[in-house]
Symmetry: C2
Subunit: 434 residues, 2 copies
Amino acid sequence: MKTLRFKQALSPDGFRPMAVHVDDKGLITAVEETDAGPWDGAIALPGMVNAHSHCFQRVMCGFAEAAVGERSFWGWRELMYRIARKITPDDQYVIARQAFGEMLAAGFTTVAEFHYLHHEPDGSHSTAMAEAVIGAARDAGIRLALLPVYYERGGFGQPASEAQQRFVHASVDEFAGLLARLGDTVAGIAPHSVRAVDPAVLPDLVAAAREVIGENAVVHMHVAEQRAEVEATGQATGFTPAALIAETCELDPLWSFVHATHVTDHDLRLMLAAGVNTILCPLTEANLGDGLFPAKEFMAAGGRIAIGTDCNARIDAIEELRLMEYAQRLVRERRAVLAGKDGLGALLWAHAARAGAGVLALNAGRIEPGTWADFVVLNDEPPLTGLEPHRALDALVTGGDRHNIAAVYVGGQAIEAAGETAFATTVNRLCTQA
Amino acid sequence: MKTLRFKQALSPDGFRPMAVHVDDKGLITAVEETDAGPWDGAIALPGMVNAHSHCFQRVMCGFAEAAVGERSFWGWRELMYRIARKITPDDQYVIARQAFGEMLAAGFTTVAEFHYLHHEPDGSHSTAMAEAVIGAARDAGIRLALLPVYYERGGFGQPASEAQQRFVHASVDEFAGLLARLGDTVAGIAPHSVRAVDPAVLPDLVAAAREVIGENAVVHMHVAEQRAEVEATGQATGFTPAALIAETCELDPLWSFVHATHVTDHDLRLMLAAGVNTILCPLTEANLGDGLFPAKEFMAAGGRIAIGTDCNARIDAIEELRLMEYAQRLVRERRAVLAGKDGLGALLWAHAARAGAGVLALNAGRIEPGTWADFVVLNDEPPLTGLEPHRALDALVTGGDRHNIAAVYVGGQAIEAAGETAFATTVNRLCTQA
């Protein structure tokens, strides 16, 4: 049992001076307004949830930007596959440990790993790769929600390529066996995409997941990230990716579509009607030249948007939110697109933290009793210096970055965010000859 | 006379281990390849030039993002005017000192101040406001290129509003007197825009500037930042803003168009034929919902693009370059838009630093004899750790930020970048009631 005191904590009712009581498991038992310090921080926010990460791709940062080959998502994917094939379980640990340390420093207290690098480099099936991710999260101190990926083919009517062999399971039963062996860090499943998974299999997959993991097992899928995927889906099935999934599954708020960049108005209505969440990865979607999701319309209609760092070229919760808003401004040629009357920063942070917890069915993302005591505490460095909380959050989201974070707490414990010293060697071995 | 040694310095010929000899004025007298330390840094870059700043707007960071009033550039401008009216010379010093300190920490060794807040709050004409900027730059240690703004009206056929009175000069002669009094920090002039200056006056203005300042006096103008400006110019004159300027002036490489967001293909050809530079302010253009300049076509045709922090809501040379590339990727749905075969980061940094010096007719922006010894030295923090220079620069521009800067040198002197302690008080007094 402990108590943390914040001069201004972003609660569901706005900023309040707050004493937060935390039990030995790390759950908030009670909150109360207080005037009495000593303070554990001036401005505290619910920890941000990184709702979509492929942590191994952190190793590629700096190695995928030259104008060689096809300047497209698909050319980038080829390079990514070449590196992914070489990653051993030890490499996976080192990279994940580095990426998770950076995530904590950047404001993320939970990470959802969309984990598809299942098998070992020689093709043998084991849980060593997943266990490397789990061990790295434990050692870094970040809350992990593992989402094992189901993958079966290279595209409509195409078998998985050699480069994709490490991702593939032979059957839903085999995959369900993996889920059972991985235990309680598994929050749900990730059928990769309608390219990589026959939608006819989805109902069995979801049923298996809910049986093994529980009724709250979440389902995340990549949907409509690139136009070529939408076109191929249309040619093969006559549907958009979103509509195809809705044809075969009963969608609900445990479902999330990652990216959803090129959804149609019909897709949007379908998502909103079923309560399907969107997970945006603004920095990655920019890096990969994906395009822009209609975030304003979706949020205005009550849709929930979580954020993720995806390819992890840059890891910064604050810049993800900035680019989420700024990309909308650039394309619409308007200001304050996702803002409210109180401003932009507190609204976006609260929305994304809460939505991020929601897409993982996790009791987190808001500072109230019954949720995990996961917090981000801001410092008073520029551009926040001397500002009251709403203005400080607006300054943070437009002018700040991860270095405005003074401390992070996971389950009530202050975490010393640190990298992994073996990382540089791993980068150079895996990427320099790629 | 001193010598600085960098393990890898970005020279016009690429990265080289380099000894740089600097004279007592701060100019590079010679460079030579060397294997011998001790090293003053692992990776050194030419200092970035901030080619477009309104430093007083730094005070607004966090105060202009709420969704109130018109969610547009023009609504933002109203708020900015309300704050600008109150700024005294002492305030101007405090704000400039803070902004310039942040610029140095963020990789900018030179700032071009597009200075229009000329007169004192009570309307009296003096040089106190400009001198506050000059004093702040001297005390912060940044190289200043002052660009006094000429302003005469509120729009086509409209007198200057009351809120614009502090910007206005009664005649070219009066303005030329100001230039003469401000001395050698003045690098050129800034006729504000075709909205605010009758283009018929431009030839006289340029002649006066070249007489007072010298043959290298540069000319910067805001051009086509917002569609409403392009439309108003068309209605009033039948021209686009760029074509209207070209009708009345002989353009040359001493001219720069700031933003140039909504230029036509004809405007682009005209700029390229005359060697007119573009100054982009990617973070501000996103914040203000301006839109996107066709940077790829302009650079591919040999056009030079400098960068600026403009409204200074965020001050970070690295993120400016990232967003310059990423905004192009988002809209074109391609990758590596401005990249070359060696990558993205070194190319963009070298281009922008050189172009930034070019738009100020300054001998800087490249590490070679005869230029100012202005450098940025990177640290080895993530995501740069252990990478060779080209990959480190790609990691910097996609994954890094101002905190990857270990040191900055201006004229061969290491500068301790620091803020201004009185800044927070000034912010709250000027903005909280705005």
